[in-house]
């Protein structure tokens, strides 16, 4: 019993500990603003950022922009991630496809996708397609690379075993290649989510009339530093949420992996 109690307390500590440093920073920040060391124009106090947030939430502006940004992020991610995943599978499974496509993909990959912004604006204006296109291009390559790499590094011994045990090509893929590649694919997803937000921030600040990036840029024109700071924090929060979602996904999908196993007490 006593042991159990200690354990749950430790558990609680473990959950809270990572938040200690950010909370401390916010407290220091607040103090510095209050004694006037930090001019409001440079960095408004956490309380005024919070006030700005509440106001934005009340007026509905926050939700509208948040919704638009999220939709863009998701659509771009699904399109780009889907293409990257399929290409990765193709090239990982079929040497012919690899011979045909890999060089091209590697060449395109070496263009920083944000360098395409001027061209993309010429093509699509500042419409939705522009942002979605950029996000899709950005997430495609990490997912492609990690899917491809994951498939290629699946233990050949397992595939050979599968053949001897009478698995058909489809079963070989479904039961051996894909699960074997999954840890690598999820690394790609995690990385791609980072790129997804980054791309969206840049795209929305440069060419948009809605979204969180636009909200920040708009606030800058009216010298609303608190809104700008809040938008930045919002991106951090969204990034963290996406990361947590993949961590959860990993935990579910990679239960078998020794790294994710908790030994039953």
């Amino acid at each position: 019993m006593a042991k159990n109690k200690r354990k749950s307390r430790l558990n609680w500590l473990e959950q809270v500990a990572p938040w200690g440093v950010p909370i401390l920073l916010i407290i220091i920040w607040q103090l510095l603003s209050q004694i006037g060391w930090l001019p409001t124009r440079i960095l408004p106090a956490p309380t005024s950022v919070l006030q700005a947030a509440i106001q934005l939430a009340k007026s509905g502006e926050l939700w509208r922009n948040l919704y638009i940004s999220t939709v863009r992020a998701c659509i771009g991610f699904l399109i780009g991630g889907g293409i990257g995943f399929v290409l990765g599978l193709l090239n990982g499974l079929f040497p012919i496809a690899e011979k045909l496509l890999d060089t091209t993909i590697q060449m395109v990959r070496n263009i920083p996708h944000l360098a395409l912004i001027p061209l993309v604006i010429l093509w699509f204006g500042i419409g939705e397609q522009a942002k979605i296109f950029l996000v899709a291009i950005g997430v495609m390559f990490p997912i492609y690379l990690n899917t491809y790499h994951g498939i290629r590094t699946v233990d050949g011994g397992l595939i050979e075993m599968g053949k001897v045990y009478g698995l058909k090509p489809w079963e070989l893929f479904w039961r051996i290649s894909l699960p074997g590649a999954l840890p690598s694919i999820l690394v790609g997803v995690r990385y791609a989510l980072g790129i997804m937000w980054l791309t969206l921030i840049v795209a929305e600040t440069i060419a948009a009339d809605s979204g969180i990036g636009y909200m920040a840029m708009n606030a800058r024109e009216f010298l609303q530093t608190d809104v700008v700071v809040f938008s930045i924090l919002l991106y951090a929060l969204l990034g963290k949420l996406a990361d947590m979602a993949t961590a959860l996904l990993e935990k579910r999908l990679l239960q078998w992996h020794p790294n994710y196993q908790t030994v039953p007490a």
Binding site: D155, G166, R175, L254, Q255, W256
Partner: protein
């Protein structure tokens, strides 16, 4: 449709396999009767695994034919199951899913049955990564036997296990073979294991059958018995005899290489380690 016997019978005719210019097997002839337990020994690199891959249909001979039950084997051998040196369990499937791999109907019942045979029914729901090396090989054994194969091929499946676990596994394999009557080909570098389990010990050298000995000791075999010990010694003598006769054999050269390499390594390590 005629009823095939429980164990497959094999006939390897003038079997040859080369990788590029390197002829690993040449004109190898071997007949294995239905239900027989054959152990194959030979020094490392003599082509034992290659032979097993040919019989399992994973690879194809460059020349010669393999007949199984009188029919030439042309593709994957459907009636054979292979056990490898490593267990090759799928880490992302639970133990019983691994055992049920490739089973078409009632995989759950059948894999539980097979796990019972190897004494691991209580671990059916575990992940393979939580098992010990010996337990993993037992799961691999259950997986091989769940579909009641007619031919069981084992490529040094016990060599990575400790002595005690190995003995347990040997008894288990012998018992299951006696109960189920499949034909068994066991590759091993452990002559004692070969004599303990097999009806017949076949030695491969320079791509051919160099020795083919019947083991007519009664089962269960007692390893302390004089007849057992003499037989083991006789086979060992044969192996070492072959090696000393071929002074230029690979293994002889290899041992020289290792020695000279060791020597030079010594010299190099001195300056980096001043005393």
């Amino acid at each position: 449709m005629t009823q095939l016997p429980r164990g497959a019978d094999l006939k390897l005719l003038d079997l040859g396999k080369r990788f590029g210019n390197h002829a690993v097997l040449r004109e190898l002839n071997l007949e294995v009767a239905s239900g027989q337990f054959v152990a194959i020994v030979g020094r490392s690199g003599c082509g034992k695994s290659t032979l097993l891959r040919l019989v399992s249909g994973l690879d194809h001979p460059t020349s010669g034919i393999i007949y199984q039950d009188g029919n030439p084997l042309r593709q994957l051998n459907r009636s054979a199951r292979v056990m490898f040196q490593d267990a090759r369990l799928l880490p992302w499937q639970r133990v019983w899913e691994n055992v049920g791999l490739g089973v078409q109907q009632n995989w759950k019942e059948r894999s539980l049955w097979a796990l019972q045979q190897v004494g691991l029914a209580s671990h059916a729901q575990d992940w393979p990564s939580t098992l010990s090396g010996g337990q993993r090989q037992r799961v691999a054994l259950a997986r091989a036997l769940v579909s009641q194969p007619r031919l069981f091929l084992l490529d040094e499946p016990l060599s990575a296990l400790d002595a005690l676990t190995r003995m347990d596994m040997q008894h288990l394999i012998e018992r299951l073979w006696q109960e189920q009557g499949f034909t068994t080909v066991l590759i091993t570098h452990d002559v004692e294991e070969a004599v303990a389990l097999a009806d017949r010990v076949v030695m491969i050298d320079t791509g051919r059958v160099a020795l083919d000995l019947q083991v007519s000791l009664s089962r269960p075999r007692q390893r302390q018995e004089t007849a057992f010990v003499t037989l083991v010694e006789r086979i060992l003598k044969h192996i070492t005899g072959l090696e000393s006769r071929e002074q230029t054999s690979d293994s002889y050269r290899l041992s020289l290489d290792i020695r000279s390499e060791h020597h030079s390594h010594h010299q190099y390590s001195h300056p980096a380690n001043p005393q």
